[in-house]
Symmetry: C2
Subunit: 147 residues, 2 copies
DNA sequence: TCTTGAACCTCTAGTTGCTAGAGACATTAG
DNA sequence: CTAATGTCTCTAGCAACTAGAGGTTCAAGA
């Protein structure tokens, strides 16, 4: 049995985050020692490692919740799992696209800046006037999530 | 003079967001009509358009605050402006790198999934075991900001 | 055995950039 | 004149944590 600190050390998830996951019921309520401290076994360690890895791959906690409950149904078809993963992939792809557009605009304004007074700075100028941008699609980005 | 709704319509920034910007002092306190409604002139419109465009390019409100106060100093050197923009560019670039790694891992696990039972699903398997990943650098991502 | 210090406990509040809602007042078109 | 829309303030909520206060438990050294 591991204390919360050991569990944190062996998964790379911080102690308060583990408590937070318990609070939002992503992890089950931990067993307690005589002195009321949390104790964890292998199954929670596995579960937390899964969560950690999925977080690292950008899945939301909600998606992870679904993935976890699916993985408790080993005989089910994995179609639903793949739907979640594919959705995540397309999110990642669209963020890359958007960021690439931003990168181009940022590079462009930095190249055009000649390093003089602010009154003549191309960066300030472009920020004040989107029509100076080369692409228009970085506007109205609707929803942008983390990562 | 524009009402808040007109200002919102002509900048693409939502009404509550404008009020929020005033609250955090990114916009100055607006003049008021006889009936206590906010009224805006050209200068606030310009300022808000600047904010909007900078947000679209991924700058944080803090960075925008700095950019705005710099742009009020037209005779200063634009070096500080360029530092902010360059920092933003490198943030964008590192996010693209990270997302590209994620994309590769997600694609890989989706390709390897043969669409059978969850017990055999490669997606679930990889999520549970990072050593099945091709790259290790998507772990411990430190800080990830919005976009 | 005692004592110190690290690790643990609970609870609240803060972060970023908004968004949603309640309940009341202002303005405007028909 | 009235009805509909717009605006006002205020509070609370979102994701996914993080930080801190103030207190308890545990493990190791003297
Ligand atoms: Zn410049
Ligand atoms: Zn633009
Ligand atoms: Zn599968
Ligand atoms: Zn991995």
């Amino acid at each position: 049995m591991l204390t919360i600190g050991k569990l944190a050390a062996s998964t790379g998830v911080k102690v308060p985050t583990i408590r937070y996951y318990e609070q939002i019921e992503l992890l089950p309520e931990a067993d307690r020692s005589a002195g009321n401290q949390r104790l964890y076994g292998q199954s929670t360690l596995d579960r937390l490692a899964f969560i950690r890895h999925a977080r690292d791959l950008g899945f939301t906690l909600d998606a992870i919740r679904d993935l976890l409950s699916l993985s408790d149904q080993p005989n089910h078809s994995c179609a639903a799992v793949d739907v979640i993963a594919r959705k995540q992939l397309s999110e990642v792809e669209s963020r890359i696209l958007r960021l690439t557009t931003l990168k181009i605009e940022l590079e462009r304004m930095l190249i055009q800046c000649s390093g003089g007074r602010i009154a003549d700075c191309r960066v300030i100028e472009v920020l004040g006037d989107h029509s100076l941008c080369v692409s228009s699609d970085h506007c109205h980005p609707k929803a942008e999530a983390t990562l």
